[in-house]
Symmetry: C2
Subunit: 122 residues, 2 copies
DNA sequence: CAGGTTCTCAACCATCAGGTTGACAACGCG
DNA sequence: CGCGTTGTCAACCTGATGGTTGAGAACCTG
């Protein structure tokens, strides 16, 4: 099993790895907008922006509804949680480790400089 | 100059968009390891893993030191903050917007009661 | 219905990303 | 010193990504 959420994570991170797409998200955070409105400030074709929006949509970051020939784009903040959870998990783990190492070094400072660079502690 | 931290964000998000690299980060969160140790579980060459580590390093997620011919890899959790901050900013903005919309709809449900008085039974 | 507006789809192209293999640098050890 | 161990670098291949243009679907409006 390839873990369902792994793929979502991959798509979300990949989606946000592009500056244009991050900017789109940033602008959508303050309100929905149509494709044309979103495309206007960029020096690229409308089609290119449409593609970017498709990527964001497939990552679950955005939903496109239908209003006549307009496609209002709406930011869907839910997926952010997935990322934040992933990040926080390992960040905290790493920081915890860091604190322990810190304490260990403090402790060793009392003793002689016996290079304890042994690994294989598992 | 395209904004210093934008480039870092791009590199961090791109780095974590790969499942192998996310797994490396996950494993490094519980302790430093050498390239060989890290490469062992994967069905890919050592060189490939070395490349992945380079990407993580250039994203600032990892540092490689030098111990004889070994290169112990260490997870550097600091950069996570950059991401979390970016994410949280827009997530909160979007959620705030959502709450306001919600309130608006609630409000309308209260005092528009005279408009839909007729069920329009058709 | 004709015509303008808004947007997506398809084909194409250049560049990048992730993998391979082969060569070799740097180091510890017998 | 010579050799095995550990890891990087370089060249190469393939598929994905980000952009383009052209065509046309879908919809309002006159």
């Amino acid at each position: 099993m390839v873990d369902e959420s792994a793929e979502r994570l991959t798509r979300v991170f990949a989606a946000l790895a592009d500056p244009t797409r991050r900017d789109l998200v940033a602008r959508l955070a303050s309100g929905d907008a149509t494709v044309g409105e979103l495309a206007e400030p960029y020096d690229m074709s409308l089609q290119a922006v449409s593609k970017h929006l498709k990527v964001l949509e497939e990552a679950g970051l955005v939903t496109r509804s239908k209003d006549a020939q307009r496609r209002p784009v709406h930011l869907d903040a839910e997926v952010f949680d997935l990322m934040t959870k992933w990040i926080e998990r390992y960040r905290q783990q790493a920081e915890e480790r860091y604190r322990r190492l810190d304490a260990l070094l403090d402790h060793m400072a009392d003793n002689t400089d016996h290079t304890p660079t042994r690994k294989d502690a598992s």
